[in-house]
Amino acid sequence: MGSWFSKVFEKKKLEESAATAVVPEAIETDEAPESALPLPRKVISAPILADADSTTAPEGGIAIKAKLDEAKDTVTFLFDRQLLDGYSCWCADRKAAEASSPLALAVFDAGGAGTVLVYSSTLAVTRDGTGREGLEDYARRIGGVLRESLLAGVEAATPDFLEGMPSEEEFRALLQEVIDTEINPGIASHSGVITLNRVRGNTAYITMGGGCQGCAASSITLRSGIETSFRNVAPKLGALLDETDHEAGANPYFTDLPAGMGV
């Protein structure tokens, strides 16, 4: 089976040129050489300040905020407490939630969820595209389901969740092999490189470098390519977090998405 990377990042064959290269002769002048151009400046970022907390009194003692991403049809719920400590729980469907996360299962049973990720004090839901309600209405409905579930004592992970969980070293070895043999050779034609920074529990942290840094297609590469390849070899992988500072990318391969290339 050809990998996603080999299909998308197809290398262009270089044709051997029969002509010899022509090197222009240096032209001698009496003029003084141009002064060196100024070195390019480094672009830095200032921290973004959040607005003053406008949380209303938490209902039932549980404060929940919902961050809406219309482009990705995703809601990230932010809780005032840890849901899962040290590990993250990725549920690709209801069946996975049934096996590992009663809280995620409640979200699937409420309807409309495609995938659910429980990580630290957040729970992210990407919709399945079947519902007709707006994202904000969906967020309010699911927020209510989550609050009711937590008040009823529903756990974020089953007792068996950690059974058979690979060690951090095992995760690192599995993911590094995929990076070395499949991912980086595939994106090398676009001057891209992926670095596995660390694994904590079952959460992987990567950096996208070279032509990937700041590239408009980086989120697609991450979700459709890297994440799929990682989960194929490490099904118990939880969250995959991109630590790249994309705003500092000096030479992104795509500065804007080509036509027809959607998220």
């Binding site: 070195l39 400046r41 480094k42 672009v43 830095i44 970022s45 200032a46 921290p47 973004i48 300040l49 607005d51 406008s54 949380t55 209303t56 404060a63 929940i64 905020k65 919902a66 961050k67 809406l68 991403d69 719920f77 932010l78 904000e136 967020a139 309010r140 699911i142 927020g143 209510g144 609050r147 705003e247 500092a248 500065t255 804007d256």
Partner: protein, 114 residues
């Protein structure tokens, strides 16, 4: 990426400031600010308006040509085509002759209490 018609900045300077008119770059092109009031000397506040009328792949505030500029905070309001304006607040940062400050940010996602 939306088309950025104009943007307004309010820059609060800390202990050190260049006390010279700054400029910005959009997509690598240098532009002067179209409106400017106040100053960027120590403890001063500078209010600026830029009118790039373009699609910002990059938008930076250029650091001073010499010395350092201690910025305590910046408030930026973006006026984009076809959508309501939005405002972001940035925290403290120091610029010098080797640095520019990124000032382009997409509209932040909406966050609600549920």
């Amino acid at each position: 990426m939306p088309r950025l018609e104009t943007f307004d900045m309010k820059i609060k300077t800390g202990k050190r400031g260049p006390d010279k008119a700054p400029w910005y770059e959009i997509n690598g092109f240098k532009l002067d600010f179209d409106e400017m009031t106040g100053g960027n000397g120590p403890a001063e506040t500078l209010e600026l308006t830029g009118e790039p009328q373009s699609f910002p792949h990059s938008l930076v505030l250029v650091g001073p040509s010499e010395g350092e500029w201690d910025i305590e905070g910046i408030e930026i309001t973006y006026h984009v085509m076809g959508a309501p304006p939005y405002t972001l607040r940035l925290g403290g940062v120091t610029l010098d002759a080797e640095t520019n400050l990124n000032i382009w940010y997409d509209r932040p996602p909406k966050v609600i209490d549920v």
